[in-house]
């Protein structure tokens, strides 16, 4: 009985504070993460490091039951801009091998504020006004998908 309780307690701690199971709902990270895919959000990733460009992260809203899955494209102080679908960081085109779908976005330059990162989904085939992206506080980043 004690062994069962210990396993249950360990499982609770692991799935609550270390790796949160989640299911991808939506298409904003396609083709990297498909709608319906199952994954784990590793919460300890940034315990001793800071989020960097290229990382795919989970962004908290009111809680951790529903989060946004996005990719960091710029960090504080950097300038983000889109010209004819090409992403420019500090005026230089960023190499993005993970982008497989066509993109025609245009966005005037904007600077990432202190303690914030700029996140975008990998699926930029939808019109820019229908894609949820932008800068967010580092505090909202809860972890990274495990695979």
């Amino acid at each position: 009985m004690a062994r069962v309780l210990a396993v249950a307690l360990l499982a609770f701690i692991f799935f609550k504070f270390v790796c949160i199971p989640f299911r991808v709902k939506g298409y904003s990270m396609e083709p990297t993460y498909r709608n319906g895919g199952i994954n784990l959000c590793f919460k300890l990733k940034y315990l001793f490091s800071t989020p960097k460009r290229g990382d795919v992260v989970t962004v908290r809203l009111a809680g951790e039951k529903v989060m946004l899955l996005k990719r960091i494209v710029a960090t504080e102080g950097e300038t983000v801009e889109f010209i004819n679908g090409k992403l420019l960081i500090n005026g230089k085109k960023l190499d993005e091998p993970y982008i497989k779908l066509p993109c025609e976005w245009n966005l005037s330059p904007r600077k990432v504020e202190k303690n914030k990162v700029y996140v975008i989904g990998d699926n930029r085939s939808v019109p820019i006004e229908r894609h949820n992206f932008g800068q967010t506080s580092i505090k909202r980043i809860t972890g990274v998908p495990l695979w």
Binding site: L61, A62, G63, K65, V66, L107, V119, N132, Q135, R140
Partner: protein, 166 residues
């Protein structure tokens, strides 16, 4: 022996009463959560919804709001004070864009700020299909304000939180 038996029965009865109390008792926070669940239920729309159902749902939704409520949701170009009539019209007209949609509230954090006022931070998920055939799947963080009027928690304001700023 008889005394022991009576004590055991008394403990069982007390435990049953305590369990029933925890199961049936609704705290003020629970009542606020219920209003959010009702809003999701009334606003959601199934495929082939009949006009009479839409009108009933619009009325039920309207009744969850105070006489005048403040709505600030830039994604839907909402910014201002809305009366019961405005909310009903808004709900009826917005249904024409969808063939079906579901509104769900998750991660509900309620705080009773005063005896007759409450605030809730929530994540709202709107998923469905537009009449044009396109899928829609949106997630927003909202701050909801409530006023207790005649014993009922009514929405007095809903503000969208800018989690991502373009």
């Amino acid at each position: 022996m008889v005394e022991n038996k009576n004590i055991i029965i008394a403990v069982i009865v007390l435990a049953a009463v305590a369990i029933l109390y925890f199961l049936l008792h609704k705290s003020e926070e629970d009542k606020v959560k219920l209003q959010l669940e009702l809003l999701g239920k009334h606003v959601s729309m199934e495929t082939g919804e009949k006009p009479v159902t839409a009108v009933t749902k619009a009325k039920n939704t309207r009744d969850l709001f105070a006489e005048i409520s403040r709505l600030e949701i830039p994604a839907y170009s909402l910014d201002g004070s809305f009366t019961h009539g405005d909310i009903s019209s808004l709900l009826i007209s917005s249904r024409s864009y969808f063939s079906r949609f579901t509104l769900e509230f998750k991660d509900i954090n309620v705080e009773i700020t005063e005896e007759d006022k409450a605030e809730a931070e929530v994540t709202v998920r709107l998923s469905g299909k537009l009449t044009s055939g396109e899928r829609t799947d949106e997630t927003h963080e909202l701050e909801c304000k409530f006023k207790k009027i005649e014993g009922e928690w009514l929405f007095s304001g809903i503000t969208a939180v800018a989690v991502l700023q373009k």
